[in-house]
């Protein structure tokens, strides 16, 4: 029986322990998403600065990175980065005479998704920096600020209102993309859902419950990001 009545569904979620297993899965998904998003942000800031003010070689290399990552499906990228990335790192370690490291678990997920997120963050942040009115930066120069000080005090805070909508989108994508890590066998929410559904045969119940969890996480994120946006753009006139 695939379509269980509501009461039965709830019983399945509460008594079998699958409900709490899914919550654990959700927590793992969120942890990986958070790590990946953070890594992506670091790559993004560095990448945007590299694209805007780096040398020609660096700009081209970054263009290549963002172009490829943004046109190849995440599923494929995840497999490539997972296999090639581990080979590469371990190859280097072996060449250095070090022991191989275990490229499994959450770290791998974070690295893989982080590299993907980094390409998108690079573009979001680059765009945001470009939307900071030129005069704001000129004013900083006119008052004798060094490039680093200008970046820290003016450019980054001033670009935030422009970057936040894009970044909060990226966060939602990171959260949902953790589902793709199921192809690597990671036990995050989607994977747990599949196991629960397979074991209990209550497919609809569990897929639906997982959908609700993602949705809830999304809505909470939206709420937070709207707060954050309001805070960051408190200096902007409301239109």
């Amino acid at each position: 029986m695939i379509w269980s009545p509501a009461a039965g569904s709830i019983a399945l979620l509460t008594t079998g322990g699958w409900g709490s297993a899914m919550l654990v899965g959700l927590a793992r998904s969120l942890t990986i998403a958070l790590g990946a998003f953070g890594l992506g942000l670091v790559i993004g800031i560095a990448g945007a600065l590299g694209k805007l003010s780096g040398g020609a070689v660096m700009r081209q290399a970054l263009d290549l990175y963002t172009t490829i990552v943004r046109s190849v499906p995440e599923l494929v990228l995840i497999l490539i980065v997972y296999f090639a990335g581990a080979d590469l790192i371990n190859g280097i370690l072996t060449a250095l005479g070090q022991a191989k490291i275990d490229f499994n678990g959450a770290i791998a997920g974070i690295v893989v998704l982080g590299v993907v997120q980094g390409a998108y963050s690079t573009e979001v942040i680059r765009g945001a920096i470009l939307s900071v009115p030129r005069g704001q930066i000129e004013a900083a120069q006119a008052y004798g600020m060094s490039s680093w000080l200008t970046l820290r005090r003016i450019t980054l805070p001033a670009m935030l209102p422009f970057a936040l909508p894009g970044l909060s989108n990226l966060w939602l994508i990171a959260m949902k993309d953790t589902a793709l890590l199921a192809v690597l066998g990671f036990g995050e929410l989607t994977q747990v859902t599949r196991q629960a559904a397979g074991t209990t045969k209550a497919y609809f119940t569990f897929f639906f419950a997982a959908g609700c969890m993602y949705l809830l996480a999304t809505m909470i994120s939206n709420l937070l990001s709207r707060r954050l946006e309001a805070r960051a753009s408190r200096g902007m006139a409301h239109v």
């Binding site: 008052y143 005090r153 902007m236």
Partner: protein, 251 residues
């Protein structure tokens, strides 16, 4: 105190400045006038190296800004540190104000003193509040620039400039972005600064104001100083035909 000597500036093939010189001593108020595109803004921006002059020399309190080739056929300041030091002393007030939009008015005013000049934060705030009071914006100290009227923003920008205790202030069309009603307000502040003996160099379209406030007027045309002198002379008795025509188009 501030000398510019034979400043030239080309953008690609366009020769915007073809040797413009200016000497400002302490307390001088110098107005730059000229048609649209005559290079007034460019010259002002050369003075604090926001544009790197293609040729000529700039000396601030006797210290010449050193230049070196930038590898693209132009020059750039040889020492970034020197350039920053000099910029911090030549406070610029932009035509479009360019107050930092993510900071309140007070934060705007104390930003450069605290982070560039290394003034103690507490002291910078005291001084900043004093300056805001002076330009009539004490009430607005915690307001973000976007919520200020044009005239208030302009006065805020002036306070920000005053906060670095500049040797000279550079104004680029301080009133052209303002309502006629706000123009008067800003001119009043500038006039008061002039009376205090501040050194100021201003690009302006307000001839009556230039006449009123400045002790030297430079008329730029075709990348050169076409005519210069005391305002009474320049406005009352223009020698060049072009200046006469230019002044004729104002009433």
């Amino acid at each position: 105190m501030l000398h510019a000597d034979g400043i030239r500036k080309t953008f690609g093939n366009l020769e915007v400045l073809r040797g413009v010189s200016l000497t400002a001593n302490k307390g001088d108020v110098i107005s730059l006038i000229g048609g649209s595109g005559s290079g007034k803004s460019t010259f002002l921006r050369c003075l604090n190296c926001l544009e790197h002059p293609t040729g000529g020399e700039i000396r601030v309190q006797g210290e010449a800004i050193a230049f070196k080739p930038d590898g693209h056929g132009n020059r750039e300041p040889a020492s970034k540190a020197q350039m920053r030091r000099i910029r911090a002393r030549l406070a610029m007030v932009f035509q479009s104000f360019n107050l930092w939009s993510h900071m309140t008015l007070l934060e705007n005013v104390i930003e450069a003193p605290v982070h560039v000049l290394g003034v103690d934060r507490k002291q910078a705030i005291d001084e900043g509040l004093r300056l805001l009071e002076r330009v009539g914006l004490y009430d607005k100290r915690d307001v973000y620039p976007a919520f200020l009227s044009g005239g208030q923003q302009q006065r805020g920008a002036i306070a920000r400039a005053l906060a670095v205790q500049p040797l000279a202030m550079l104004f680029d069309e301080p009133t052209s972005a303002l309502d006629p009603e706000l123009v008067g307000e800003v001119l009043k502040v500038i006039r008061a600064l002039a009376e205090e003996g501040r050194t100021m160099i201003l690009v302006t379209h307000e001839m009556s104001f230039a006449r009123d406030v400045s002790n030297q007027v430079l008329f730029l045309h075709g990348g050169l100083v076409e005519e210069a002198g005391a305002p009474a002379e320049v406005f009352g008795n223009p020698k060049s035909e072009r200046l006469a025509r230019f002044l004729g188009s104002f009433h």
